[in-house]
């Protein structure tokens, strides 16, 4: 029988009060664990595991907007890049894969973003170590689509479903005439891909109304390739052919037939780039090279979001942790009140123990042991319940909001949780322990 056993027995004697105070600590710790798990999942979704590419190339502008639009599909594209630039990048030996993305439209039902891309997008990992799992067949036709799991769930679509898309965004009322067919459904990824409809890039260009006036394209190409007359000449030659064709056909519309769009007329909203893994400096040098020339920029897909998440969510997380810390502190005060109130009833008990030979430090230790057992017991209970709830809720959360929760990921705050609880136990147990320490044995035995 040691001091902790004696403390435990004393707690059992006051079962109700002990359970309630431990429960209040448990609730606080459980809340903290849940907040940390959720914020960890959000942080992970927005930073480390967001995308399996090294760089995102887009028109010069806000790097955050580029990432939000290309990766998270939360923002409209900044502007477009000439398709010829994609071809140019593909020739760079440092680039292993360059996948074009063209977007701007949304589905009529549910306003899910439409992204025109190539099959390479589905062949690459969508996040490090994670490959797409596709149910259905490959895109063959111009208007074949692959839809994300969340699109399928919310709109009730499956392979074979047909739908229309709205031009330019949810607020636009221009519905394209083309009927799109779902040919495959992606398994849930926990990323923005779940809420995206993927379209054959060629199909994206073939949608009536997506082509821009030749004069506008010409102006853009001249701006873009101002420092590269050779490429500009190639582009201008292609534009001349388009102009000649338009003059021949008298500017007819293309609703009843489709032409293959010349490269000079095509644009992409962003290019996802994978560089050589074995040479980590590639991505840095490539970024620097792209920034130097033309009007494009390359951004690390993690950095701007990391900055945003840390700047915004980091503060919210800190605020919530502070709030929960206050809750735990209040629970600690509850433990203090519970033990302190019991001290007058236990005066004789302490006197008896002292008479049996317990020293002042023994009774001091027993009371501190009680507060420690309550704090640590409550803390452990809360920690397990918190992670247990996270485990139980993880499948539901991923189904509902596509957030991948790893319930066992330990946060740095959790590593200091138990030392902090021991500190709290010492703090709240100190005064009652001192009362026990100072108990006058002779008086206590007479009481």
């Amino acid at each position: 029988m040691n001091l902790l056993t004696i403390a435990w027995k004393s707690l059992l004697q006051r079962r109700l009060a002990s359970s309630l105070t431990a429960l209040s600590i448990a609730l606080g710790v459980m809340l903290m664990v849940l907040v940390l798990v959720v914020f960890g999942a959000v942080d992970s979704a927005f930073t480390q595991r967001s995308i399996g590419y090294d760089l995102i190339v887009g028109p010069k502008g806000s790097d955050l907007q580029l990432v939000l639009s290309a990766v998270y599909r939360m923002q409209p594209p900044i502007e477009n890049l000439p398709y010829m630039y994609l071809e140019q990048l593909k020739k760079d030996r440092r680039i292993v894969s360059a996948v074009p993305l063209a977007f701007g439209d949304v589905t009529k039902e549910g306003s899910f973003p439409i992204v025109g891309t190539t099959t390479e997008y589905f062949e690459n990992e969508y996040m490090p170590g994670q490959n797409f799992r596709i149910r259905g067949k490959r895109i063959n036709g111009l208007f074949d689509t692959i839809i994300g799991a969340e699109v399928a769930r919310q709109n009730g679509w499956d392979v074979g479903s047909q739908f229309n898309i709205v031009h330019g965004g949810a607020e636009s009322d221009h519905v394209h005439d083309e009927k799109f067919t779902v040919v495959a459904v992606l398994a849930r990824t926990g990323t923005a891909n779940d809420r995206t409809v993927f379209l054959n890039l060629e199909g994206f260009y073939a949608i009536a109304g997506h082509e821009k006036p030749v004069a506008e394209i010409e102006k853009r190409l001249k701006d873009f390739y101002a420092a590269d007359p050779e490429r500009l000449a190639v582009a201008m030659k292609q534009l001349e052919e388009v102009k000649a064709h338009e003059a021949e056909s008298g500017g007819h519309d293309h609703h009843d037939h489709s032409h293959s769009t010349p490269d000079a007329m095509k644009e992409v909203s962003a290019i996802l780039v994978k560089t050589r893994k074995e040479i980590p400096s590639d991505s840095l040098l490539l970024t620097s090279d792209i920034q130097k020339g033309f009007q494009a920029m390359a951004v690390n897909p993690v950095r701007p979001i990391h900055k945003l998440v840390n700047g915004l969510l980091g503060n919210i997380q800190t605020a919530m942790i502070v709030l929960i810390a206050i809750i735990i502190l209040v629970s600690g005060v509850g433990i203090f009140v519970s033990i302190y109130n019991s001290m007058s009833d236990r005066r004789k008990e302490i006197g008896i123990m002292r008479a049996l030979g317990a020293g002042r430090m023994h009774v001091f230790g027993i009371i501190l042991g009680e507060s420690t057992l309550l704090c640590l017991g409550g803390g452990l209970l809360g920690w397990f319940v918190g992670h247990g709830l996270a485990i139980a809720a993880a499948p539901w959360v991923i189904q509902q909001i596509g957030l991948l929760i790893d319930p066992w990921t330990l946060n740095k705050w959790e590593s200091i949780l138990f030392p902090v609880l021991i500190g709290l136990a010492t703090l709240v147990g100190f005064l009652p322990a001192m009362t026990a320490y100072r108990t006058n044995v002779a008086d206590a035995l007479q009481s």
Binding site: M1, K9, I352, M353, G357, L445
Partner: protein, 267 residues
């Protein structure tokens, strides 16, 4: 240095006890902190010399309680102590057990003077050398009978010996009630647990403060016999405070506190 000497004496004393044979060897010469007993030939468990104790009332007035020039209990001796209420019996027991320290004088228990010991040493010494049986039993309600006995061992520094605690409870006839909480035990059984607890650390001196006062008449003699027989069996000196002449009359040695206590000596 002081503590080291104490520790060495303590250790030498401890070595003398094997199992339940707790007589100190007559040849042993014991040093007492601050003083030295030339010999321990007279085998005293308790020796009080020139003990003075007064209380200070809230008004500031000094209230003399104990003035004892000499009082002793020999090893294995059983003494009944009679005294009127308010006569200082409880204060005397508290001083003998080291719960209180005298204003002056020495309180030698098993060769060592409690009055000069630091409190922390005195507490440990009390746990190991002195057993106490209270009038109101004072069992802790959160603990079973067995745990109450083991609780006495927990503070001795030697660790709790479950088997020995069981033996003690069996010895007092409670082998079948080991895991009962005090509230599930009769008054007589509770007092028997208290006796077992007092003997848990193999003390040399058992202090019993009116142990039969709260026990029904049928159990009084039983408890009394139990305490006296157990002390006799284990060679433990017994100082029993009692109001009852019936109880006192069964002792060979009966002392009246007022006969050897002269509080006026404090003045």
């Amino acid at each position: 240095m002081h503590l080291l000497v104490n520790a060495l004496v303590w250790r030498s004393n401890s070595r003398r006890f094997g199992g339940f044979a707790m007589f100190p060897s007559p040849e042993s010469s014991l040093s007492v902190s601050g003083r030295c007993l030339k010999s321990w030939n007279d085998l005293m468990s308790l020796l009080l010399e020139k003990v003075r104790k007064s209380y200070v009332e809230p008004s500031g007035r000094k209230l003399p309680v104990l003035g004892i020039d000499r009082f002793e209990v020999k090893q294995g001796e059983q003494v009944a102590l009679l005294g009127a209420s308010g006569g200082g019996k409880t204060t005397l027991l508290n001083i003998i057990s080291g719960i209180l320290t005298p204003d002056a004088g020495s309180v030698v228990v098993d060769g060592r003077d409690l009055a000069t010991m630091p409190e922390v040493v005195r507490d440990r010494y009390r746990a190991n050398r002195i057993g106490i049986v209270f009038q109101t039993f004072n069992l802790l309600p959160a603990f079973t009978a067995l745990e109450n006995v083991m609780l006495g061992m927990a503070f001795s520094g030697k660790g709790a010996d479950r088997e020995f605690a069981k033996q003690l409870l069996e010895r007092v006839g409670l082998g079948h009630r080991l895991n009962h909480s005090p509230s599930k035990l009769s008054v007589g059984e509770q007092q028997r647990v208290a006796v077992a607890r007092a003997l848990a650390n193999k003390p040399v001196l058992l202090l019993a403060d009116e142990p039969t006062a709260n026990v029904d008449p049928a159990n009084q003699q039983l408890i009394l016999d139990l305490i006296r027989d157990t002390c006799r069996d284990h060679n433990v000196s017994l100082l029993m405070v009692t109001h009852s002449m019936d109880v006192a009359s069964s002792f060979k040695r009966v002392e009246r506190l007022q006969d050897f206590n002269r509080p006026e000596l404090c003045l």
